[in-house]
Amino acid sequence: MNAIKFLFAAYIATWVIHGVYLGSLVRRFSQLRRELKEVGKK
């Protein structure tokens, strides 16, 4: 593996980590909103 591949691996890894975290935030937001709506209905 040449050096440039390491460079791209690092940049891609950074955005994959941020993407996964942002995805988890979106998932938790929608889950909490759904829960709040259910509690409100009761």
Partner: protein, 301 residues
């Protein structure tokens, strides 16, 4: 609020794209390391952002701990002010200046010390009461994400440059890993403990955890490490285009971190709102159950 968030998101996206362009195209190639050195444009800003977030977490945790008692809160204000004033004055005393590592400017140290009371009072003013705890959990979680990036991009850079993924025993690498583990344990404590004391325990853990941040930062100043020695402010030299690209990247990452923290902060508020709604619901349920258990012929007094 939504409009501000959208505008900030657009600005952040432009800044990140510009920083990426600078990092990959504008910044010159390093004579010794070649193209792979460009990893620093993500690795270093991520580390600085993580340190800043852990620092905010530390201040918010202290504020949260002392806010339990008004007398402690008042005393803490004076202690923080005293630390700020004494720290700044000390940086200009010859005896203290001899302890400052070569290449590090006393004015830079004084400015950093001055940030402690500034952050303390600004955070206390902007985040009253339980919002301090919300800020603490927010900055810890986002800080761990940035610290994870540091721990992943570091070895990816090290493999082609050093020939190894990790240098066992290197104090910078080890202390960063310990820092990450401390904040992961902080998040685990917050996630799985149901005790009424969880917030206090987490705040105390955060205060001790933050003590590792100066160790991580200063390790390359005081010890010989496999990790490169400091270039900025450390007596080393750097091409001005490289330095500008590094600072541009950091600004872009700061904007991004701010947006992520904002979202995480709102998420935590929503989470507490849901918990409160559940608590109210169960209280109402208990009330109905208590009424139902009253004997039919017994009228309330």
């Amino acid at each position: 609020m939504r409009k501000t968030f959208t505008i900030l998101s657009v600005i952040t996206a432009v800044l990140l794209a510009y920083a990426l362009y600078q990092a990959l195209v504008v910044a010159p190639t390093d004579a010794q390391q070649g193209e792979v050195y460009r990893i620093i444009y993500y690795h270093v800003p991520s580390a600085w952002t993580a340190f800043l977030l852990f620092f905010i977490n530390f201040i918010a945790s202290i504020q949260y701990l002392v806010s339990r008692k008004p007398s402690t809160q008042a005393a803490a204000k004076w202690v923080v002010l005293a630390i700020g004033v004494a720290g700044v004055v000390a940086c200009f005393l010859p005896a203290v200046q001899r302890l400052i590592p070569a290449g590090m400017r006393p004015s830079a140290v004084a400015t950093t010390v001055l940030l402690i009371p500034i952050f303390y009072f600004v955070i206390g003013w902007l985040f009253p009461g339980d919002r301090l705890d919300v800020l603490a959990v927010t900055t810890a979680e986002v800080g761990v994400v940035f610290c994870t990036i540091v721990l992943i991009t570091g070895p990816i850079w090290a493999r082609p440059v050093w020939g190894i993924w990790w240098a066992p025993g290197d104090i910078r690498l080890t202390s960063t890993l310990v820092l990450w583990l401390i904040y992961v344990s902080y998040l685990v404590l917050r996630r799985f403990s149901n005790s009424a004391q969880t917030q206090m325990l987490a705040a105390a853990l955060a205060v001790f955890g933050a003590l590792d941040v100066p160790l991580v930062y200063f390790s390359i100043w005081f010890f010989r490490t496999q990790h490169p020695q400091p270039v900025i402010g450390g007596g080393g030299s750097m091409d001005p285009r490289m330095l500008r690209t590094l600072l541009d990247s950091w600004i872009a990452f700061l904007f991004f971190a701010f947006l992520v923290c904002w979202s995480r902060f709102r998420l935590e508020l929503l989470h507490r709102e849901v918990e409160e709604a559940h608590a109210m619901e169960s209280l109402a349920g208990e009330g109905v159950a208590a009424k139902a258990s009253l004997p039919l012929n017994r009228s309330p007094r």
